[in-house]
Amino acid sequence: MADAPPLKTPQQRQPSTEEYTEVQQSAEFAELRRSYRSFAFPLTLAFITWYLLYVLLSNYAGGFMGAKVIGNVNVALVLGVLQFVSTFLIAWWYARTAAAKLDPKAEAIKNRMEGGA
C-alpha cells in the first residue's frame, strides 16, 4: 500500500486531559477553529442552497428548465451539469484552502502536543 507514511511511533506521547483543555482555550487553537469554521460552514450553506434551488427549479419552473440552449440541450441539462461542475470546484477549493491554511496550523499544534511540552 503505496505511499502510506509509517505508523505512529511507539514513543508518541498521549497528552493529558488538562493539556487538551489548555490547548482548546488557547488563542492559537481558536484561530485554527475560526479559519476552519468560517470557511467550511458558509460554504456548506451555500452549496446546499444552490442544490435546493436546483431541486425547486426542476419542480416548479418547468418552462424555464425546458428552454433549449443549443440544439436539444436545454436549461435543465445545463444546470444539472453545472451542479457537477460546482461540486468539483468546491471540492478542489476546499482541498487547496485546507492544505494551505489549515494543515500547517493543525500540524503545529499536534507536533507540540505529541512531542511533549
Binding site: M1, A2, D3, A4, P5, L7, Q14, P15, T17, Y20, T21, V23, Q24, Q25, F29, L32, R33, R37, A40, L43, T44, F47, Y51, L52, Y54, V55, L56, S58, N59, Y60, G62, M65, G66, I70, G71, N72, V73, N74, A76, L77, G80, V81, Q83, F84, T87, F88, I90, A91, W92, Y94, A95, A98, A99, D103, A106, E107, I109, K110, M113, E114
Partner: protein, 540 residues
C-alpha cells in the same frame, strides 16, 4: 430491433449464459483469492476493522467509489433515465453533491477522533453504553435496509441475466450472494473488502467508459443528436429531456421529490458503511484525498450514466426495456447487447461483461454493508456495551467474525423472503434514516459544545423512529400498486420519502434533548474531542 432478442428469452440466451457464468466465476475466484490473501494479513483488530489504516488516499477513494456505487446507481439510474428521461438524472445529482458534506464537515474530524465505527465518535464525550447502543442500533438498521435492497435486487437481476425463472433458483442466487459476502468479510475483514471494492470500481469505471464511448460513437459524438433521438424514440418528445415525467405529476409527487432530494444530499455523510472507510487511511489528509478521488470518480460515473440512459432510450424501444424488467434495471446490459450487435459474438461478449460488472458491483456493496453492521455489533454493542470495554482484542475479533456470519444469514433469510417484494424504496429509506438519525448526531457531537447524552439519544432514536415510522405508513409499504404489500392498505402518510419531516425532527430533537437534559456536558471530553478532531493529536 424487435423484442425477440431480449436477453431473457431463456433459450436463445444459453450461449450468453455460459459466457456470463464464466465471467462471474472468474470474478468470484479472483476475489476469493484476494480475500484469503488479505485474511492472512489480518492479525489484529485494526486490521480487521480498518484494514490496518495503511491504504493510500487514492486506494481508499477507489474503494469508496466501489462501496457507494451500488447496483441501484449503475443499473437503477441508467434504467430510470432510459424510462423517465431527465428525472432519472436527478438522483445522481443528489448522490454526488452529498459528498461535499462528507468532505467539508465529516471525513477528517471522524478520521481523527474515531477508531473503528461511527459509534466511536458519537459516544466520545457521552455516557458510553446508551450512546453506543443507539449508534449500533442505527448502524445496523441503516445497513440492513440497504443490504436487503441489494440482496433482493441481486436475486432479481442475476436470475434475469441468467434466465433463471424458478423460485428455488432465485433463492439460490440470494444465498450465493450471501455466502460470498460472508466469506469476503469474515475471512478478509476490511482489507479483503477494500480490495474487492477497488477491483469492482475499476471494472465498473471501465465498463461504463466503454459503453459511453460506444454510445457516443454511434451518434458521432453529437450529444444533441443523442438527446433528440432519445426523446423521439421514447414517444414522449421534448418532455423526456425535461424534469417532471416522474415527479412532476401533482403537488404531492413534487413534494416527494423535494423530500427525496434533501435525504440524498444529507444522507451520504451519515451512512455507516461509508464512514468506516475513512478509518482505513493513516491520516486526516489521506481521508480528504480519498474523498476527492471519490468525488472525481463518482461524478465521472454519474455523468456517464447520462450517456447510458439516454443511449438506451435512443437505441431501444421503451417496450423492449420494460418487457425485460418493468423498472428498467436491465437497460444497461441490454444496451451493451445492442451496441455490440444483437446476434453477434461482440454483442454476447459485451452483454456478458456488463452483467459480470453488475454482479461484481452487488457483491462489493453487500460486503461493505455487512462489514459495517458486524463491526458496529462487535465493537459498539459487544465490546463496549455488553463487556463494558473489557473485551480482549481476540474476543472482539471473534465476535466480529461471528456477527458477520449471523448478519449474513439474517440477510439471506430476509432477502429470500423479500425477493418478490418491491424493495427499491429501501435504499431511499436508508438514506433518510442516515440523514435523520446519524447526521444530526455526528454534527452536534463534533461542533456543538453543549450537546449532551440525552440530546444524542433523542436525535438518534427520534430521527430513526420518525423516518421508519413514516415509511411504514407510506405508499412504499402499502396501498399502491408499487408497494411492498400492494394488497393491503394501511397508509396515511402521503409521501414515499420521509426526509422532509424526519430530518428536521432529528435535528430538533437533538437540540431539545440537550436543552432539557439535567446533566452538564463533559467539558474536558469535548476539549479533547475538539482538539483531536481538528488537529489529529492522539489519533489512532
Amino acid at each position: 430491433m424487435s423484442t425477440e432478442y431480449v436477453i431473457l428469452a431463456a433459450n436463445e440466451a444459453s450461449e450468453h449464459r455460459t459466457l456470463i457464468i464464466s465471467l462471474f466465476t472468474a470474478f468470484v475466484l479472483a476475489t476469493l483469492g484476494i480475500t484469503v490473501w488479505a485474511g492472512r494479513q489480518t492479525k489484529d483488530a485494526a486490521d480487521f476493522y480498518a484494514g490496518g489504516r495503511q491504504f493510500s488516499g487514492f486506494q481508499n477513494g477507489l474503494a469508496i467509489s466501489g462501496d457507494y456505487m451500488s447496483a441501484a446507481s449503475f443499473l437503477g439510474i441508467a434504467g430510470a433515465i432510459a424510462l423517465s428521461g431527465y428525472d432519472g438524472f436527478l438522483y445522481s445529482i443528489g448522490f454526488l453533491v452529498a459528498w461535499l458534506i462528507a468532505l467539508l464537515l465529516v471525513a477528517e474530524p471522524l478520521r481523527n477522533s474515531g477508531r473503528y465505527t461511527m459509534g466511536d465518535v458519537l459516544a466520545y464525550r457521552m455516557r458510553q453504553r446508551p450512546v453506543r447502543t443507539a449508534a449500533g442500533v442505527s448502524t445496523i438498521i441503516v445497513s440492513i435496509f440497504y443490504l436487503l435492497a441489494q440482496m433482493a435486487g441481486a436475486g432479481v437481476l442475476v436470475s434475469l441475466l441468467l434466465g433463471i425463472t424458478s423460485e428455488a433458483g432465485k433463492i439460490g442466487i440470494v444465498a450465493l450472494v450471501g455466502v460470498l459476502m460472508i466469506m469476503y468479510v469474515s475471512i478478509g475483514g476490511m482489507k479483503g473488502t477494500t480490495w474487492v471494492q477497488m477491483v469492482k470500481a475499476v471494472l465498473l469505471m471501465f465498463g461504463a467508459l466503454l459503453l459511453t464511448f460506444l454510445v457516443l460513437l454511434k451518434f458521432n459524438f453529437n450529444i444533441s443528436d443523442l438527446l433528440g433521438t432519445a426523446a423521439e424514440n421514447s414517444g414522449k418528445g421534448d418532455a423526456f429531456l425535461e424534469p417532471g415525467l416522474k415527479y412532476g405529476i401533482d403537488s404531492m409527487t413534487k413534494l416527494d421529490f423535494v423530500s427525496l432530494g434533501i435525504a440524498l444530499v444529507l444522507g451520504t455523510a451519515g451512512l455507516p458503511h461509508i464512514l468506516i472507510r475513512f478509518y482505513t487511511v493513516p491520516t486526516a489528509q489521506a481521508a480528504r484525498k480519498s474523498v476527492l478521488w471519490a468525488i472525481g470518480l463518482i461524478g465521472a460515473f454519474y455523468l456517464m450514466t447520462l450517456a447510458l440512459g439516454f443511449g438506451a432510450a435512443a437505441l431501444m424501444s421503451p417496450k423492449e426495456i420494460t418487457d425485460s424488467n418493468p423498472a428498467g434495471n436491465t437497460a444497461a446490459p441490454l444496451l451493451a447487447l445492442h451496441l455490440g450487435g444483437v446476434d453477434s459474438t461482440w454483442g454476447a461478449i459485451l452483454l456478458a461483461s456488463i452483467s459480470a460488472v453488475a454482479f461484481a458491483t452487488i457483491l462489493a456493496v453487500v460486503a461493505g454493508l455487512t462489514l459495517a453492521s458486524s463491526s458496529s455489533f462487535a465493537h459498539d454493542i459487544y465490546a463496549n456495551v455488553i463487556k463494558r470495554g473489557q473485551a480482549s482484542e481476540k474476543q472482539e475479533m471473534k465476535a466480529a467474525r461471528w456477527s458477520t456470519v449471523f448478519i449474513g444469514i439474517v440477510a439471506i433469510g430476509l432477502g429470500a423472503l423479500a425477493r418478490d417484494l418491491n424493495v427499491a424504496g429501501l435504499v431511499a429509506l436508508a438514506f433518510a434514516v442516515a440523514a435523520s438519525a446519524n447526521l444530526p448526531t455526528i454534527l452536534y457531537s463534533l461542533f456543538w459544545k453543549r450537546f449532551t447524552t440525552q440530546g444524542a439519544l433523542w436525535s438518534i432514536y427520534g430521527g430513526l423512529v420518525t423516518a421508519v415510522g413514516l415509511v411504514l405508513f407510506s405508499p412504499v409499504v402499502s396501498g399502491a400498486a408499487t408497494s411492498m404489500f400492494p394488497d393491503v392498505d394501511f397508509h396515511w402518510f402521503p409521501l414515499s420519502n420521509p426526509g422532509i419531516i424526519s430530518i428536521p425532527v432529528g435535528f430538533l430533537l437533538g437540540w431539545l434533548g440537550t436543552l432539557l437534559s439535567k446533566e452538564e456536558p463533559d467539558k474536558a471530553k469535548y476539549a479533547e474531542l475538539e482538539v483531536r478532531s481538528l488537529t489529529g493529536t492522539g489519533a489512532h
